[in-house]
């Protein structure tokens, strides 16, 4: 839905009503109660284009992908009208160009329905939660490690930032020199110990500025593949290894 101040009327996007051209096409196939593998292409094409026209007359913005589908349908329709030349055995039904993706689209709709019917965590079923991340890294066996994504990293960073006192919050512009020196510090730690937890790199008394510099240093090091960042599968603790 889009509305600008100098316009007195609503503008509706077709995409709001139909989740894409495939959805509209499926709606028409369904409405006409026709077999998806034997689509009366002339009828469906005509209805599809009428639909777009009708939408336009209601001042509904028709997105480009709907027009691409209209062109595809028209193209298939014209190919159906052409007499087949010679006796080419592998001459496929032109409609297959649209039937195959439509069948797949329908299949994934069933798949999505199936997912929606499952008992969902935090919606239908619940587990005990609230986990303190200050728990030490489990001794002995390292357990299952997974590569950490950027969102987990940002999450962990936000938790640390939230813990510090806002009074320390002074300057957001990171000093590149201090980032570089922090990189060398972290390198030293890793050379000595092989690995370190994400948590350990942020000392309790660190200011927000230190924390930001440390975080930027970690990101920079990850970018140059100097380090590997792994997360423990069960505890969620993030550990940094020498790359």
């Amino acid at each position: 839905m889009e509305q600008t101040q100098d316009q007195t009327h609503y503008e509706v996007h077709l995409g709001d009503l139909f989740d894409g051209p495939m959805d509209l096409l499926l709606h028409l196939v369904k409405k006409n109660e026709v077999d998806i593998y034997d689509i009366p292409i002339a009828l469906i094409t005509q209805q599809y284009i009428e639909y777009l026209e009708w939408m336009k007359s209601l001042n509904i913005d028709v997105a480009g992908e709907f027009l691409v589908m209209a062109a595809t349908l028209t193209h298939i329709k014209s190919r159906m009208l052409l007499p087949t030349q010679g006796e080419e055995v592998d001459d496929e039904d032109p409609r297959m160009e649209i039937v195959r993706p439509l069948a797949e689209f329908l299949q994934l709709k069933y798949a999505a329905d199936d997912l929606m019917e499952r008992d969902r965590l935090d919606w239908d079923v619940f587990v005990r939660r609230d986990f303190d991340e200050t728990e030490p890294w489990p001794e002995g066996a390292p357990g299952d490690l997974i590569q950490v994504g950027i969102f987990e990293l940002i999450d962990a960073f936000q938790k640390i930032i939230n813990r510090t006192h806002p009074a320390y919050f002074l300057d957001l512009t990171p000093d590149t020199i201090s980032v570089k020196s922090r990189i060398s510090q972290i390198t030293d730690i890793l050379e000595e110990r092989g690995s370190v937890t994400f948590q350990e790199l942020f000392e309790a008394k660190a200011t927000r500025r230190d924390i930001i510099v440390t975080f930027l240093a970690i990101l920079e090091m990850a970018k140059f593949q100097l380090i590997r960042i792994m997360q423990h599968l069960e505890s969620g603790i993030i550990r940094i290894f020498n790359g």
Binding site: D19, D23, I36, L108, K109, L115, L121, V127, R129
Partner: protein, 180 residues
């Protein structure tokens, strides 16, 4: 260990993530895998027959105690905050990734016929999908796959727990629910 069942039960109760047999084994040090599996099966049966408020489920490669779906309304009242629901387009995009992974954004968009950038972002933020890597193609497009959180959300032991596309209702017999 005579009280093995009670110990395993206590571990399940205290853990907030699915507990793997491997993990239970390493905590108990001595117990063998078979005994643990038996205890887990027995506990699951007990909760089932004892009409408890929770059940034991195998999810994302481990075991977890979860409240029974029939008591959802009470837990929701206890929690107060409502979880954000996934939109229909998000569910469809997620279904494609679950079934077709590793999959490129262009493949997802071809299947759905619409741009999926925003939906992918939402799913990434909710950690239901992740970037598995980049394909060696011009532009180095990202390859997507589902996460452990995806399995946890949908109460799935692993990806094989999903019905095969063929098992899903026969085409044309019934229509999927309308998004409208």
């Amino acid at each position: 260990m005579d009280n093995l069942k009670a110990i395993v039960e206590s571990l399940l109760f205290a853990s907030d993530t699915p507990l793997t047999t491997h993990k239970i084994k390493s905590v108990l040090e001595t117990a063998d895998r078979k005994a643990i599996s038996e205890v887990l099966t027995n506990l699951a049966k007990e909760y089932e027959s004892g009409k408890r408020g929770f059940f034991l489920t195998e999810v994302a490669g481990g075991f977890q105690l979860r409240t029974r779906p029939e008591y959802r309304q009470w837990i929701r009242r206890l929690r107060e905050t409502r979880p954000t629901r996934l939109s229909r387009p998000a569910m469809e995009t997620l279904a494609i990734i679950a079934y077709k992974q590793p999959v490129l954004r262009s493949d997802i968009e071809y299947l759905r016929g619409v741009d999926c950038g925003g939906t992918l972002r939402t799913l990434l933020e909710r950690r239901l999908i992740r970037v598995l890597g980049r394909k060696d193609l011009p532009g180095r497009p990202m390859i997507y796959g589902t996460t452990k959180q995806f399995l946890e959300l949908f109460d799935l032991k692993d990806l094989t727990g999903l019905p095969t596309l063929k098992d899903l209702k026969d085409l044309g017999e019934t229509w999927p629910n309308d998004s409208k």
